[in-house]
């Protein structure tokens, strides 16, 4: 009888020990994350679960959101992004970019010769923290840093100032939440850069057209050849830079399109 009791109690203890070891294993993962805390720690511990983005009606948006949450098991941007990254901005991409921009009211740059000189003062780069809510509400909000220019548009969209409220979700480690926040901060930074660069691109194209017309007039007015050549060189330089910028805008837009929607 005594022997029987001993066997059963040992088995029970063994089972308890195994359950405990399994939970410790999980906890270890969380602690690993804590060891790498950075300046954004405050943000990361405050988010909920990664959500159910597949509920989105828009397939592309769902795909991007999946990417944002790390659903691409190959650890790389998805295939579609890669394909688009190699090409010029497609019409649809530019349209999406504009749609995003108008949703967030960030197309505030309208350059002229006068205000272009003071562009640094127009582009407020001071950052504020907001709690960004996703349009369909199926993904947990995320605390991100946005420029003062973009903040108002975000607030109009339902986001709130300050960090997101704390959520107790032990399914993911601190490291996961920290990386998620970093990820969305980079998306926001990219988006703001795309919008600013697009406005510069539009202005540059406008200026190029004007300069070409002026050059044509100068040629017919017998302006000295050296002057014309010098001006032509400046126009060519701008043309080259504009062409590269256009491609980079397409690339950057494709990488982030719809990710904050």
């Amino acid at each position: 009888m005594k022997r029987k009791m001993t066997i059963y109690s040992s088995l029970f203890l063994l089972a308890v020990a195994c359950v405990l070891s399994a939970s410790t294993f999980q906890e270890k993962g969380n602690k690993n994350g804590k060891g790498q805390k950075g300046k954004n720690d405050k943000d990361q511990s405050k988010h909920g679960n990664p959500g159910k983005d597949k509920a989105q009606g828009n397939d592309h948006a769902a795909k991007n959101a999946e990417n944002a949450r790390g659903k691409n098991s190959q650890g790389k941007p998805d295939k579609e992004d890669k394909v688009k990254m190699n090409g010029k901005p497609s019409q649809e991409v530019r349209k999406n970019d504009r749609r995003y921009a108008s949703e967030y009211g960030m197309l505030g740059y309208n350059w002229s010769r006068e205000n272009f000189k003071d562009r640094k003062s127009f582009r407020k780069q001071d950052k504020v923290t907001i709690c960004h809510k996703f349009v369909n509400g199926s993904e947990s909000p995320v605390s991100i840093r946005v420029s003062a220019n973009a903040a108002k548009a975000h607030l109009n969209h339902g986001d709130v100032m300050g960090d997101c409220p704390a959520l107790n979700d032990s399914r993911y480690s601190d490291r996961y939440w920290r990386n998620r926040s970093d990820y969305y901060n980079n998306v926001q930074y990219n988006q703001e850069q795309v919008l600013y660069s697009s406005s510069i691109l539009d202005y540059a194209l406008q200026r190029l057209a004007g300069s070409r017309s002026q050059l044509a007039i100068m040629q017919s007015n017998n302006t000295p050849l050296a002057d014309i050549q010098r001006k032509q060189q400046v126009v060519n330089g701008l043309e080259e830079n504009v062409s590269v910028l256009e491609q980079l805008i397409g690339l950057a837009t494709n990488v982030v399109v719809n990710k904050l929607m």
Partner: protein, 72 residues
Amino acid sequence: MKKNKLLVLALAGMCVTFSACTGQKTNNKEEIEIKTMDSTSNVVKESADKLEEQTKKVEASLEKLDNEFQTP
């Protein structure tokens, strides 16, 4: 008696395996998600940095243009 003992042992073994596997699965899933996020995040950051750099070049070219073409 011996049968019961074997049954209990088998059950305990199953419990151990199940617990260990569940824990590991959760952890691996998170690791994959983190790696994917980091990788995409780097691509996003790099493209934004390149864009910023190129925008500065265009701005510089526009300033040169302003100097060459004084009248609008």
